[in-house]
Symmetry: C2
Subunit: 440 residues, 2 copies
Amino acid sequence: MRVSRCFLPVLKESPSDAQIVSHKLMLRAGLVRQTASGIYAWLPIGFRVLKKIEQIVREEQDRAGAQEMLMPTIQSADLWRESGRYDAYGPEMLRIRDRHDREMLYGPTNEEMLTAIFRDEAKSYRDLPRTLYHIQWKFRDEVRPRFGVMRGREFLMKDAYSFDLDEAGARLSYYTQLLAYLRTFQRMGIKAVPMRAANGPIGGDLSHEFIVLAPTGESEVFYDSAFEDMDWNREGLSYGDEAGLRELFEEVTTTYAATDETHDEGRWVDVPDVRKRTGRGIEVGHIFYFGDLYSVKMGLKVSGKDGIPVVPHMGSYGIGVSRLVGAIIEASHDEAGIVWPESVAPWTVGLVTMRGDDEPTVTAAEQLYRQLEAAGVETLYDDRDERGGVKLGSMDLIGLPWQLIVGPRGIANNMVELKNRRTGEKQELSVESALARLTS
Amino acid sequence: MRVSRCFLPVLKESPSDAQIVSHKLMLRAGLVRQTASGIYAWLPIGFRVLKKIEQIVREEQDRAGAQEMLMPTIQSADLWRESGRYDAYGPEMLRIRDRHDREMLYGPTNEEMLTAIFRDEAKSYRDLPRTLYHIQWKFRDEVRPRFGVMRGREFLMKDAYSFDLDEAGARLSYYTQLLAYLRTFQRMGIKAVPMRAANGPIGGDLSHEFIVLAPTGESEVFYDSAFEDMDWNREGLSYGDEAGLRELFEEVTTTYAATDETHDEGRWVDVPDVRKRTGRGIEVGHIFYFGDLYSVKMGLKVSGKDGIPVVPHMGSYGIGVSRLVGAIIEASHDEAGIVWPESVAPWTVGLVTMRGDDEPTVTAAEQLYRQLEAAGVETLYDDRDERGGVKLGSMDLIGLPWQLIVGPRGIANNMVELKNRRTGEKQELSVESALARLTS
């Protein structure tokens, strides 16, 4: 993509209305613009990041055997009356009356809707187990939206729902999602620690939050740094392996991690001091097992093997897709701007000409751009006739993993500069070596 | 994907509440379920089709140089007051009050929002031309929703917006989208004919609708069948070529095509009788050039080359992504069910075992499934222990382009049956030949 043809507004100054670093950087680098309180438009660069995150979530859900579908944003109030949550939900639910004065709402979550759909279609034990998910915009009418997309009102969430014939099956579905979550966050390059949590208004008695350290987090967290060294793609860990999944659950629940809500000083003292991690944390995912709570309330049952009706056990599993854009920036930035993990970067390479009016520089950059694109390397090419320093500053702010810098002095000797955004390390390389490095 | 693990509810009987064939087939084949009047949940198979259509739209927009972003569904009423459309829009606009009693609405389109975003960011002539688009759910509170996703209330739309420095540039942007639309629909295997249309509430004086023939269409249409033979990917037609784009526009506007609104008997008599096509048609896309209408109302201007402020000319360009699922079925089905064009089919191959309890049959099918998946051929494998006839009926209903049928008699001689869903043609082939045919 050529910057000269992009809609990529970059701010020189730090916006005064943003309180936290991720929000500031998202505004400065042109990822989002607020269009109403707590509601954001995703500009092209932010949209690309959002899609990368969404795609990682999708791939790991698919690998875990969940099936994608898509539920609408607007729901009927009657559905929520069946579960009793219409009155219970409070003012965070955006309630709407349509032109026929029917009570509707903008869905904050989808337990009711999917339970109703599943109830109407699933007839027999053969139709279970199933885990279904969708990635859809939700709305929660926060009284005081803040921190940009971290606590907005309209937000993108992946929510999955599992249906099993009994508690043992439902727990396996829960463990399967647990593993999918650990792998999802690992792929995004962040340390999201699973912590035992209260079930809250969803109901049930088994729940974990996935929390990323960030100074602006809503809760205080305490965990064993052993979590930071665990590899969730290690050999011997696979979705089909029931014993392995149970061991994973054991491992996750015996390694210490808690929010201030669930913190236990008695167990915390047993964690060696060098492995103690504390700070504030942001929730990026939350999983729940709630048994037959919704099945009973909404009359979901299927015929069992012996013909006797069975009431399915359910769980639900959320990931804050749009919130993750902010959370990743909170966890990965420096003085100069964002530092994207490669897996979620809007582009992999930022190609910069130091002089837009020097013919050999432009010719070399144009050719590099074509070669990188042909090799499938996602490249943002700053081809503007603008001062080199300004362009480098923007690239640092936008935070692509690699900068490939072409200038008149270097190119006279067939040399370019390759900069690693994370380490800051710069190398002078021949054009061919730089290309080989980025396309290998 | 294995049917035994899929959420794929298929109805044996035709649903009584559906009036048109696409709606009936979408319910029977398990593509959607209604969750409230005019609001649908997309079940896994419908979701896959929706995503395929969305992806074709996206790729052709990207090729045409448009840049993707994403605007929120909920908008502030104040934005619409700037253009004067808040009061003008009428009861199809879903109006909402949030917890602070602020007036909001569920966006039916985004001219106002993007004009405001662009106004705040674009400063100079260098920031133009730009065409931005998003693919987002919209809401129009139809008084009497019907025909399933064809006239629903919550629907998925691609809407693009172009910003140019003058009318000549804006017309080129319009022609560029015109070509992108023709290519988009051609890729989906449908004949969508561009017809001159009234601009209506969007404003302006240049507009085309893209219309697909279907007996339940909302308007009567008249067109020259020459449109059906045009290849929009022919040589000599490219986005950068201004003269070629102007010729394309000439060609499209001189070849006869009109709805009852714009029909001209005087010109119609000149179309040779053998090339006359009439019938009812469904709108699947609509493009508008409306000059400086929104720019003036909303105060969008940039500094020109000579420093004098310039008021940009705009156009907007919509495609009904969710509606297309219905429109394609209207245009492509038979007595037995849906007949998907390959480019939008939820899977390419339906693999069926005629006997789920015959070991050689199952072994052969399992291996074929692995081989097809490994070759990247999207396969729906009906591995259920269910009568072969029932499974074949479901496959016809679902409408995948190819059926690969494995039965005990054939497999004893290493033979399988390959059926083309569209033509009905069946061939007995060796396992290896069938595989080669599908993976080549």
